[in-house]
């Protein structure tokens, strides 16, 4: 792709339409919806709560568990079989690592915080959308955090780097799109998730990371605005 526009008309550094909403699952201790284009993530946080069986408890620090799950009707193609897959377990694990770097686990020794991330609709970038939602849900649950986490996938589409790939871009062949999901701590710029599928040079990778960092600053503004909105509503009640 050498044109100046992307398949859906976006600029190369432009994300899809973003929407964030706090408090979508009343029973949860914290919850949020985060939407990037047609990818919608719901995240619900329960805890800190008791962890059983007891041998799993850690007296040194709390435990956070992240569960990534696509609803059976959420995918672009065939029905997604319910239950964990190798893919969903790996994504749950990297999500956990991304978020645990900002969560103060020392505050809930022996206990667990469970983060459930569910997708009613997906269109590429689901792990990043899920991380953005989960960070908001943790904040909504009042878990002590040093910052939020924002995530985006940057890719090499044709010969151009592009931010926040759509499914259509991700699926392109000849050359295959390179997909680099990444997550940042917005205040420090630290990288807490980095994966890649595809071929890229080191220079391009470093450039992609800068693009991702900038995009995540914008995502973070939307996250913060959503949290503030919830806070203001509470004040009026």
């Amino acid at each position: 792709m050498t044109s100046s526009k992307r398949l859906d008309g976006r600029g190369f550094e432009e994300t899809r339409e973003i929407e964030a909403k706090i408090g979508i699952v009343k029973r949860a201790d914290g919850s949020a919806m985060f939407r990037m284009g047609k990818t919608v993530a719901y995240a619900a946080v329960y805890g800190p709560r008791d962890l059983y069986p007891k041998f799993l408890q850690n007296p040194e620090k709390g435990i956070m568990r992240c569960n990534y799950n696509m609803m059976p009707f959420s995918g672009q193609g065939e029905r997604v079989r319910p239950g964990p897959s190798r893919r969903s377990r790996e994504i749950g694990m990297v999500t956990e690592k991304a978020l645990s770097s900002v969560v103060n686990l020392d505050e809930f020794k022996n206990a667990v915080v469970d983060v459930f991330i569910e997708f009613p609709q997906t269109d590429a970038g689901s792990r990043c959308t899920g991380i953005c939602a989960a960070a908001l849900a943790l904040a909504d649950a009042g878990i002590t955090m040093k910052d939020l986490v924002a995530a985006v996938a940057v890719g090499k589409v044709g010969d151009r780097l592009a931010v926040d790939l759509s499914y259509e871009e991700e699926a392109l062949k000849d050359p295959d799109t390179t997909d680099i999901p990444m997550a940042f701590v917005p205040s420090t710029g630290e990288i807490v998730l980095l994966q890649m599928d595809g071929i890229i040079s080191k220079d391009e990778l470093m450039e992609a990371i800068e693009l991702g960092k900038n995009a995540c600053k914008k995502l973070n503004e939307i996250q913060v605005a959503a949290l503030k909105k919830k806070f203001e509503v509470d004040k009026n009640e």
Binding site: I24, V25, K26, R27, A28, S31, K38, V40, Y42, A43, A44, Y46, R49, N67, N69, M71, P72, F73, S74, G75, Q76, G77, E78, R79, P82, G83, P84, D114, F116, E118, P120, Q121, T122, D123
Partner: protein
Amino acid sequence: MSDNHILKNLESGTRFDGRKLLEYRKIEIKFDVSVNAEGAARVILGDTEVLAGVKVEMGTPYPDIPEEGVLMVGAELLPMSNPDFESGPPSIHAIELARVVDRGIRESKCVDFKKLCITPNEKVWTVCLDLVPVNDDGDLLDAFGLAGLAALKTMKFPKVDGDKIDYHEKTSAGIELRNLPIPVTVCKIDKYFIVDPSNEEEPAIEARLTVTSLEDGSLCALQKGGDKPLTSEDISTMVDIAIEKGKELRRVFESATKHR
């Protein structure tokens, strides 16, 4: 809230949330769930929120019914929706919910399975209806029942290209629902009957009866639950309640799906 407290409320004729004994919470049916599903619906029942989605696949028919398509109903009690739900294989509770919704649809014959046949003996549609809660504040079954029907009624088959399904292109063909099997769960606490229990009321339920009724007042599926027995008088009263409430839910369903 203790069972005693709930009972005291029932004696006064008003539940703790201000509802009458046989009053449903506000019901909303929306269709903003998933553009990737062939059909999908969201049902909001007070603070209970559930999603239903339809995906279709092509498969071979069962040998004993070579000219009929297949319907599969599944329910997954997502741990997101209730702190007591755990990840893992479907609990018996989830299996019951899916089977009772399935039974209503199947036995009402609202879906013409012959119309789900593509090539007799060879190729039929497999219609997968999946039900999930987003927030469980009680009465999942009745919410699943409405959501499942709404998803089926508004679904559109994808385009077929030889042996392959083009999931990105929907046709105008859907599933005609010849009837509307509406499940209503009537619950008994002491000598009182209630519908649409909230999550706080559910533990106090001694017995429940889900009655799936059709427009003409006939019944197409039943499921008794709970630990306590019911008398035949109880059943008679509960069926009457379910048919009456079924009419109410049917009106809500029809006005929500009319322009879809």
